[in-house]
Symmetry: C2
Subunit: 570 residues, 2 copies
């Protein structure tokens, strides 16, 4: 292999600096997760396909990476892949042709016209439905009918050519024998055509793949909760920081392998959890020194309430999609879009206060109340919001702010209560850096109903980009080597290695240059690796048991005994 090696699109290699920076973010998040009482779990990178498929909609199913079964997956599944047993169908078709020949045997004579014969075949086949004895007609049988009808003219040519079937058993048997050779051809031809026309990667996937890479952490978590429900104490507070994989088209900031950092609680409906998640967001971003993030909050019940009030319960998604564009396209165009989706003028009029929501959380809630007065579910949504906001006002956030955003509708099909989304500080162009919400029925897909949950997620890659842009990574996070011992030869190197061993035992990151290469080469190595100190032990130092410590930045040198060297590098 001589071409330059590469990695799959949408994936990344991380060098030491990147690993250290990513690890800094993850460790910071992890520390706060633990302070808040969340316990770590880890799940396998791949799950059984049935665990994942059908949980993320059709688009999601398409984006799940499937793992090929090992061994002779194709040979063993050929019949399933074709969709039927080739041998059985072949004999069924043969049987069908024999019966067909019997049916038309006495129908024609030498005066029959070509058209008569052709029309008869057409009708006979149309009437002749091959069922499985229980009245079921399989898809391939429909296909066979279509096939014969298409062939009816050439069949008619043959029958006509033979003057119909004369009333002579020997001749008929002979004809049948010949036709049967063709029938084998028809059957195979049919099977092959059917295979080619009906082949579908989607269907084949399920035959040749039983496992798939994790698409998010939420579904595996739900599976975990149900599978281990007897070992878990509820309410169960778990965090999970692991990679997920999506066969999405890669683009800037969107990768096919990326980490998710999730914290969830299942088993309680208490709103104190929403309160704590707002605090947790604040705590993490404060710990990352990322000031001024906005935690946007909304409630699915408020959106349902509004839809109810304006008589558009069945248009909840259209309505929220339009509302979500308010910032971008302005009030009038949002109204136009709502009209185009069939929301009434009267309904839109009732929404007016929404377009001018202003002031603080409290004021906005008052405006919402004026819209939602009549809606029971809307009122519940407002109560929930007020509870959370009042608790947070009381507890105070350190650096983030909590903001009501009625246009927030992420994961609408999924969330049932609070909805969260976190924006980077103003001035940083970046999508949301976190999000979450409450879901009331996640584990029921795996057979455990009535288990409410609420959770949030941190977008590692985007947080990384924000910290990079704002220059917020601490300078000390790369675990780089502190001192390099220059190698002047085996004897000197061995003495160095004794010192290196000592330094390491005292927690100082130290290296010996492995070869007694030219001094310049070794110094260049120290420079390029940003190693701040080098130690030189030549013949003289070896004699005097001293170590020459050189500070790379200043060039300053001093001769030290080992204990002093240790002290100097601490």
């Amino acid at each position: 292999m001589s071409k330059k090696p590469s990695i799959p699109k949408g994936t990344r290699d991380f060098n030491a600096e990147e690993v250290a920076k990513r690890s800094y973010i993850m460790e910071t998040i992890k520390e706060q997760f633990q302070l808040y009482g969340f316990q770590p779990i880890e799940t396998p990178s791949f799950e059984n396909s049935e665990t994942l498929m059908g949980k993320y909609g059709d688009e999601g199913d398409r984006l799940i990476f499937k793992i090929l079964n090992s061994g002779e997956y194709f040979e063993k599944n050929l019949e399933k892949i074709i969709g039927f047993k080739a041998t059985e169908v072949s004999s069924e078709i043969t049987q069908f042709f024999i019966e067909f020949l019997e049916r038309i045997r006495f129908k024609f004579n030498k005066d029959s016209t070509f058209e008569e014969i052709s029309d008869f075949i057409n009708e006979d086949i149309h009437n002749y439905i091959i069922t499985d004895g229980k009245g079921r007609i399989y898809k391939y049988r429909h296909y066979l009918r279509k096939y014969i009808i298409n062939q009816r003219d050439s069949i008619a040519v043959r029958i006509k050519k033979r003057d119909g079937f004369f009333d002579n058993d020997g001749a008929f048997e002979h004809f049948k024998q010949i036709e049967l050779v063709e029938i084998c051809g028809y059957a195979s031809s049919f099977i092959f055509e059917y295979l080619v026309k009906n082949i579908s990667s989607q269907r084949i996937s399920s035959e040749i793949s039983e496992k798939a890479l994790r698409y998010d952490l939420t579904v595996p978590f739900a599976r975990y909760v149900v599978q281990h429900q007897n070992e878990i104490e509820f309410p169960f507070k778990r965090y999970q920081i692991q990679p997920v994989w999506r066969a999405d088209r890669p683009q800037k900031g969107r990768f096919r392998e990326f980490y998710q950092c999730d914290a969830d609680v299942v088993g309680s409906k208490s709103l104190f959890q929403e309160v704590e998640f707002v605090q947790l967001y604040d705590a993490v971003f404060t710990a990352l020194d990322l000031k001024g993030v906005t935690i946007k909050i909304n409630n699915r019940k408020i959106l349902s309430g509004i839809a109810e009030v304006i008589g558009a319960q069945d248009k909840l998604i259209d309505f929220t999609v339009a509302l979500d564009k308010l910032d971008k396209i302005g009030e009038e165009k949002v109204k136009d879009e709502m009209r185009s989706k069939g929301i009434s003028e009267a309904g839109i009029a009732k929404l007016q206060p929404l377009f001018s929501l202003e002031g603080d959380f409290g004021n906005q809630v008052e405006s919402l109340k004026s819209i939602l007065g009549a809606s029971e579910i809307g009122k519940t949504g407002i109560d929930e919001l007020e509870f959370i906001n009042s608790a947070i006002s009381n507890l105070k956030l350190k650096t983030a702010k909590l903001q009501l955003d009625v246009t927030l509708a992420r994961g609408l099909n999924y969330y049932t209560g609070a909805i969260f989304e976190v924006s980077a500080p103003e001035g940083v162009k970046m999508g949301s850096i976190g999000g979450g919400g409450r879901y009331d029925d996640l584990t029921s897909i795996f057979g455990k109903p009535d288990t409410s949950g609420v959770g949030i997620s941190f977008g590692l890659d985007r947080i990384y980009l924000v910290l990079e842009e704002l220059n917020l990574f601490p300078e000390t996070i790369t675990d780089a080597t502190k001192v390099l011992f220059i190698n002047f030869g085996d004897q000197e190197a061995l003495a160095c290695l004794e010192a290196v061993t000592q330094l390491r035992q005292h927690g100082i990151k130290a290296e010996l240059y492995p070869d007694s290469a030219k001094m310049k080469k070794q110094m260049t190595y120290a420079n390029r690796r940003n190693i701040p100190y080098v130690v030189l032990v030549g013949e003289e130092e070896l004699q005097s048991k001293l170590f020459t410590l050189k500070t790379m930045e200043t060039g300053a040198q001093e001769k030290l005994k080992l204990p002093d060297l240790l002290q100097a590098l601490r």
Copy 2:
């Protein structure tokens, strides 16, 4: 989905305790890696298939998890999967039949016998080789010939039935037209049969899969080094702790997803690196408090030297496989096996000192010298061993011991110098818990020759089992919650949450029970989660701004002000 959810065989869920224990091992290893100057890298979970395939032998290729391409991978690749273009072959076959009919047209008359016709077809087809104009015969054409010869009797029946071909253009054209219908059948039938008989999962895999899950960390590392060679300073010391996947048959202690922890240096042949790796093993196991591990060392050059001396250079593997069994089957049976592999009596006699290697490292080396006297490569191997052993004697190990093991031959096809393997302390039944060695040509597979490397690996899962068995996990490693605040109602809970927030800001892991459930339920929760303290704030405490702290183990309670509570829980 009502059946109990599960995970794929060979994979594992990890609960909080397991995550903490695994993380403890990985962090300990990571800390030592960094002290020794290794830098972390991470590579993607999946690589391009061509990066991995062919690097681990046939067995390895089989055990690599392949990822199905997304989209219509099957429809798009149908021709590649079948092995030829169905339409082209179909028309080639039709053309072949037309020419065949032309050739036999005037050969027969009504007096021709069935046997004459059949024999002619047989000969005609045998003589008729379909080449592509360059004289090449494709595999499917051979198959077609075989197919027609099998069908020759039924073709002969038909020709006989028509009195040969009478010399009448209209009738011949008519016949051809009819036969062509059949020919379509033949062609399809042929294609289908060919497909079924020639389908091979292995071949299909390469058409429908372009990516595969990482099988180890070494090959991705080699790929990384070559791909990023211009960004890297050599010698490059990297560590990597990531999961790998193998489609191996799962069994006790063998999983389909498991972590590898590797440290390697590439770009230097210095033996100081081998010395440092021995120290590194010692440092890690000392840090894990796992005393008494044995670091076994051998050298590929010694094995080559022995094979040379006994005249069995070509039987190096047979020879080492036999020698490796010395512990299990004893000297005589090892000699028997060597004899059965064709090693001469004279050669075996020369090995005698090997069977009684005794004493310390130095004594064993002396015995080896007596065997290897004449071998240049063997002598080099001994020099290397002695260098490493003498340096280690000088530097001293803390808790491990270094031991020569001439039977050690792991990765023989791969290693070129030192070979390492680490055994758990005596008394613990466990295979090797680490291993490694020097390889001189790893990156050449990706186009960068002459880059020597040496590295070691830690077996996370086995180390876990050993620490568990010896009860060596520190008690404090699970990051469990320290205090639970009992929830007596919204007002009390809110006051609790203020205190919880304070505690968390001081680094104390604290939780509020989210619901005002029955006292007993909340206490049971604290108990089952092993939370050592609970705090009770009822109406009275709310009034007096005191917190009742209860120590779960003793049941002792005391009322404290917030600052004192904070102090007590620190």
